[in-house]
């Protein structure tokens, strides 16, 4: 599924109840979120925040891989991307 989380049946049941709460939230918000209201995606209005195109100190390979669950040849190693049926 989209979130890459497997849920147990119990979790699914519990969640179904909470989806109702989300629906309540939506209904509540819909009362005032009329088309004439602008959306605020950022609490303090700002724009054009940039960084100069100057090279910094990159991480060392050791730092890059220090938390890797699996690595080989200086790269991160993952299991096969496609299953057999694909």
């Amino acid at each position: 599924m989209l979130a890459r989380i497997q849920l147990s049946d119990g979790e699914v049941t519990q969640l179904t109840g909470q989806l109702d709460a989300i629906v309540d939230n939506i209904a509540k918000v819909a009362q005032v979120a009329t088309p004439d209201v602008a959306a605020t995606s950022h609490p303090i209005a700002m724009s054009n925040v940039y960084r100069p195109d100057e090279v910094g100190q990159p991480l060392t390979l050791e730092q890059v891989l220090q938390n890797a669950p699996d690595a080989a040849d200086g790269r991160f190693r993952v299991t096969a991307i496609l299953g057999e049926e694909q």
Partner: protein, 512 residues
């Protein structure tokens, strides 16, 4: 109990600077305290093995004649949401167990540069999702006032550490109240700065447009001293404000004279009736207002008609952003990896890892957020919730045209019992009723102790909100009320907290 740990950070900093106490002594005293009480409190997930070495270095810098800041040498507890190079950073999750960051969060780097000594990493609800610290993957933190009760959340570890005198200063993060609500239930001080006032770089993101890092302390002045160290522009956080800030410690000192209350207009929201709050919480709030009025403040009823939509909007925005922010925990580059039997694909491994590595509250919010952003729902969910932010900002604008600060109780109830609400997330969510609007609108908020509730003897906090960029106003007003209240009580509120049992445990660092 050593007197050192009872000192405020300002006092301790002063004594260290005069040479009366060394940073090593101060640090050792706090490490001893952690060893003695943290078995019960469980404020820390990790105690810094390098704390004494760091303290010795500050002492050496001072001995070498280096001019250090007012709190150099003072120990600091760091919420585990902030990444550190010398201690693991887990954000309270099993999926990040043992994770070592190659860089320090900006607030941590600035703290180190100012000579603060990181004592350890404090417990929190997993990925800061919660209001009780019961959702930590490493077990709950307990409230020093009553070990059967929650210390608030998500930053329960930082608040409890400060309340239990395990650290004079702590760093927290506040997405919907995670600094202010724990302050409320532990009798401590917590500030959520203006959004962008403190760098988020190195704070493991929950909801990027809501998160702010801030100080957790026992006094308003200490908070100001810490805010002066960690605040200000950081080019590594695009949303960091590029403005100059006044000294918040200076603002707190100015406020402590009490003069600022004269003629101060304090707004009280008429849509927040007393009935929504525990009796002792409401009573404490009214008493504080009366104290302020007695000092010349004017209490003005204001209207904030959209605040009641805040919680609904918050619980659409937060899961949406969190579901995306937490997608990076996929077992490829860092963190836990769980490989199921057979010939699993990468997708299978990612799913098994996230299933095993995330706790129930995190999964719940990721799923809800994923759903809320799905095609066809975006406008109704996330988009509409963002409109509520506009309306709440408009409420604030209208209110601040009339008043200097807004006052609310910091949370509806005193600390509830561990386990009491854990199965009722919706009830839990209402804890953040009064704190959430500040996050949605980006304005700063402070919670300071206002007293104890008559019915249970547990601490209560009062929250002040100010317009964006006006954090200094909160320090002035907070320090003024704090001075008046402490004066009326005869001692800080925390002196009323029961003594903690002292364990004779081994004194050592490491992950607990």
């Amino acid at each position: 109990m050593s007197d050192i740990i009872r000192l405020t950070a300002a006092e301790l900093g002063e004594k260290i600077s005069t040479g009366e106490i060394s940073s090593v002594e101060a640090t050792q005293a706090h490490l001893d305290r952690i060893a003695a009480v943290d078995g019960d409190v469980h404020a820390f997930l990790h105690v810094n093995e390098h704390a004494l070495a760091a303290a010795a270095e500050v002492d050496a810098r001072r001995a070498a004649g280096e001019q250090l800041g007012p709190i150099a040498g003072v120990p600091l507890a760091v919420k585990d949401v902030l990444v550190t190079t010398d201690m693991p950073s887990t954000s309270g999750s099993k999926i990040l167990e043992g994770y070592m960051s190659p860089f320090d969060a900006t607030v941590v780097a600035r703290s180190r540069a100012a000579g603060l000594v990181p004592l350890g990493k404090t417990n929190m609800d997993e990925f800061a999702m919660g209001s009780s610290t019961e959702f930590s993957a490493y077990g709950p933190t307990r409230n020093p006032w009553d070990l059967d009760r929650i210390p608030g959340g998500s930053g329960g570890g930082s608040a409890a550490a400060v309340a239990a005198f395990e650290a004079p200063l702590a760093l927290g993060s506040d997405t919907g109240g995670s600094i202010r609500q724990p302050a409320h239930v532990t009798g401590t001080v917590g500030i959520k700065p203006t959004y962008g006032g403190v760098s988020r770089y190195g704070a493991i993101a929950l909801a990027s447009s809501l998160d702010q890092v801030g100080p957790v302390t026992r006094t308003v002045l200490d908070a100001g001293l810490l805010h002066d160290v960690i605040g200000g522009h950081d080019p590594q956080d695009s949303t960091s404000l590029a403005q100059e800030w006044p000294s918040f410690a200076a603002a707190a000192r100015e406020g402590a004279t009490g003069q600022v209350l004269k003629g101060l207009r304090v707004g009280v929201i008429k849509e927040l009736p007393d009935s929504g709050f525990q009796a002792g919480v409401a009573a404490s709030f009214r008493e504080s207002l009366a104290v302020m009025e007695a000092q010349g403040a004017e209490i003005v009823e204001i209207s904030a008609p959209h605040f009641e939509y805040g919680v609904a909007a918050y619980y659409l925005i937060l899961p949406a952003e969190a579901s995306s922010n937490l997608a990076k925990f996929d077992s490829v580059r860092f963190g836990l990896r769980v490989t199921p039997d057979g010939n699993p694909t990468v997708e299978d491994v990612m799913s098994a890892t996230r299933d095993a590595g995330f706790g129930p509250e995190v999964k719940r919010r990721i799923i809800l957020g994923t759903y809320a952003l799905s095609a066809g729902y975006y406008d109704a969910y996330y988009g509409s919730a963002q409109k509520v932010r506009t309306l709440i900002q408009q409420d604030f604008d209208a209110a601040f045209a009339q008043v200097d600060v807004i006052a609310t109780p910091s949370a509806p109830t005193t600390a509830f019992r561990i386990g009491e609400k854990v199965d009722d997330p919706l009830q839990m969510y209402l804890n953040d009723l009064t704190t959430i609007p500040a996050n949605l609108a980006g304005v700063p908020g402070i919670s300071i102790p206002s007293g104890v509730a008559a019915e249970d003897g547990l601490p209560v906090g009062i929250q002040f909100l100010a317009p964006a960029h006006e954090d200094a106003r909160l320090y002035r007003v907070g320090a003024a009320l704090e001075a008046a209240l402490v004066d009326s009580w005869g001692a800080p509120l925390l002196s009323k907290a029961p003594a903690l049992r002292q364990a004779q445990g081994p004194k050592q660092g490491g992950t607990r």
